[in-house]
Symmetry: C2
Subunit: 408 residues, 2 copies
């Protein structure tokens, strides 16, 4: 089965928004083993949408459209698709009632339009907005329409379209995700190639993003339980081959693993950040409920502030400089003290673009962890990277250092 | 003139990355008055790329492709396009020499392939990566090829393609950007509609994104100077109609305006953040050179830390709670003191998803500024928003408060 995604919206062609829907849907379909061969974007223009549909009909088994289901005069996806596939549009009384309940006094005659759907279609109820989606088969092609706003499209795809597609064939497809920090994609691939080459069900696919890697293990089986059972030994083997660069399986992020790990141990953390400028604090407090483990965060740029707020000694700064393992450790110690925390973290470095020297180039940083049991510091250099990437990588290294030392 | 963007890359169809290139190019072309009618995405598959090119040839005056110019066997865009347009590929000695200089010892025979270009094309030199782009005309269609990685595609488009397209017609198109915080898009549109409706050259277009708005004013004229001269009175009029919600013209961001304003005044700022969890510190220190104005940032969640690090009084916390205007002001004052800064900022609120009550709902926050001249606090509620959006909005409000009070 192969699929084409047609996104409808002039705002995409003006570059006002990026096509997030196409990415979300592609990712989900690829996990289901459905090939996506084309994405097409057209504006709110019935004639050009009609042409795009005619082309897609000839080359795809499934067409998924996003956008153009709203109440305004611009929203013409349903009308154009119905005409292209010879379908009649009829008022769906259930959806009409739902819309009235949802909108109450805000309901306008225009909104009624949203309850008009192709005759005999499968309605995909929208719990995240007003426009229902729908699916039907015609002329050997399966057509699925979804609303455009990503906050509606994403859950509609996950909660409505995936189960719908699963109901069309026997069995289910399930994936597990192994998350990795601290190993490059090519090294990871070469270590796993012996395994990936011989796998058929489940399969394993490596990905790299934002300085991290992940391996997706996907199995097909008659039931969900059986699919996960097929994945399990492969997930275990990959974790054991890669060792402690694996920071979690089916977890959201490094910061989530850190917050969860600290919470389980009843521990708190305090941060002293220089080059990362508050990014580690932001990442930790991005996790809902982080307040349980978060002591405090101190962002200090100047030597004066490092001395005053963190108690870094003037001798250390004079002898080794602000960007040094010694300063990182004293920052971590100072944060722990200031925040009455179990764990202190200190990060200092040169994020660029200015400020680098031959001895201490842009991209160099130190991350330290201090606990009552001891202290550790790591040195890393991220060369040829933007300020943003150096900062992101340094914040990940610090989070990973907490994981490797405290949460061992 | 109308354009189609064809993005080549299996990673797009797998949903591993989002199609940022198409957005960047669409935005730039729309500013130039070039209509984009279609985006197409195909994988690294010569046959399907050929089909997409045949379709595009029949409906577009300009085809811009992104991706597939790399050195690997997968990278087949040039070969496929040359064949589709009956062009011969030849080694370009200038680009070959450039590649050797750039890559040195890392040069492989595969890399040589990147210097092979369609005969007689305009070479678009790539200062941001190894693969040059190119442009040629054939069969009434203008074809432009760009590399796929956004960090190469974006500058190539701006520095190479836009001047190339300008050279094709008389005159230039120039835009100015008016940035707005603190007014909704619909209110802005209704205030400006009297003006926008009668404008022809320049034109003015409103946009909303991430809690901010912007108005783009675009003029076409024989020279750059004349284009800017046409824009000037309209920019002035819009600024005067909208008043002080305009935080800058042709500026990058609110944080950049704040850092620049503080620097010009030789002032420093210190932050006390609760619900924003380090986001304000991160945004300020995102601006290169922020160290000149950044005193320190303190991220305090608990009452204990607010008292200890910021000197918020136990009585204030007991009487008004941590989320109150009184606490915000004392936090701002404490930050100013701790950082020996000219300006102190305090933000406290409920980012959610938990922690809200009827009196103090999720989305409520207070932002305060403290200077030797006085103190100010604002209350805002961002209802029905995710944790991420509440935090982003609160950080913007705090930055905007600095601008409105200190940088007046």
């Amino acid at each position: 089965m192969n699929c084409e995604i047609i996104s409808v919206g002039t705002e995409l062609l003006l570059g006002e928004i990026v096509n997030l829907d196409a990415q979300t849907i592609s990712q989900g379909l690829s996990e289901q083993g459905v090939n996506v061969y084309y994405h097409t974007v057209v504006g709110d223009n019935p004639e050009r949408l009609k042409k795009a549909l005619d082309i897609a009909k000839g080359r795809a088994d499934i067409i998924i459209t996003t956008g153009g289901l709203g109440p305004t005069a611009d929203d013409l996806t349903k009308e154009t698709i119905a005409a292209a596939f010879g379908k009649k549009l009829v008022m769906d009384p259930v959806q009409q009632k739902r819309l009235h309940e949802r909108m109450g006094a805000r309901m306008t005659p225009n909104n009624e339009k949203q309850a008009v759907l192709p005759e005999g279609c499968t309605v995909l109820e929208n719990d995240w907005g007003t426009a229902p989606g729908c699916a039907f088969e015609a002329g050997g092609c399966r057509v699925i329409m979804l609303p455009g706003p990503p906050r509606e499209c994403e859950p509609m795809f996950r909660e409505r379209v995936l189960p719908y597609l699963e109901s069309l064939h026997e069995g289910v497809i399930r994936s597990r995700y192994i998350k990795i920090f601290g190993m490059g994609e090519s090294e990871m691939e070469s270590r796993l190639s012996y395994l990936m080459d011989r796998l058929q069900n489940p399969t394993a696919a490596p990905y790299a993003k934002e300085g991290e890697c992940l391996v997706r293990v996907t199995a097909k089986a008659p039931t969900e339980e059986q699919a996960y059972a097929l994945c399990a030994p492969v997930v275990d083997e990959i974790c054991s081959v890669l060792g402690d660069v694996v920071y979690g399986v089916d977890v959201q992020s490094l910061e989530q693993v850190v917050v969860e790990g600290l919470r389980q141990r009843g521990m708190t953390v305090a941060l002293a950040e220089s080059c990362t400028g508050g990014l580690i604090a932001r990442r930790i407090t991005d996790v809902p409920g982080a307040s349980e483990v978060f002591g405090c965060g101190l962002v200090t740029y100047s030597n004066e502030m490092k001395m005053q707020l963190l108690g870094v000694s003037p001798e250390t700064l004079a002898a080794h400089g602000a960007v040094s393992p010694e300063t990182a450790v004293e920052m971590a110690r100072g944060a722990r003290r200031a925040g009455h925390a179990d764990v202190g973290v200190g990060v200092t470095g040169i994020a660029g673009p200015g400020g680098g020297t031959a001895q201490k180039p842009v991209g160099l940083f130190y991350a330290a962890v201090s606990t009552p049991q001891g202290e550790q510091v790591v040195e890393r250099v991220r060369r040829n990277a933007t300020r943003e990437r150096v900062r992101l990588y340094a914040s990940s290294c610090a989070l990973d250092l907490i994981r490797r030392t405290v949460l061992k």
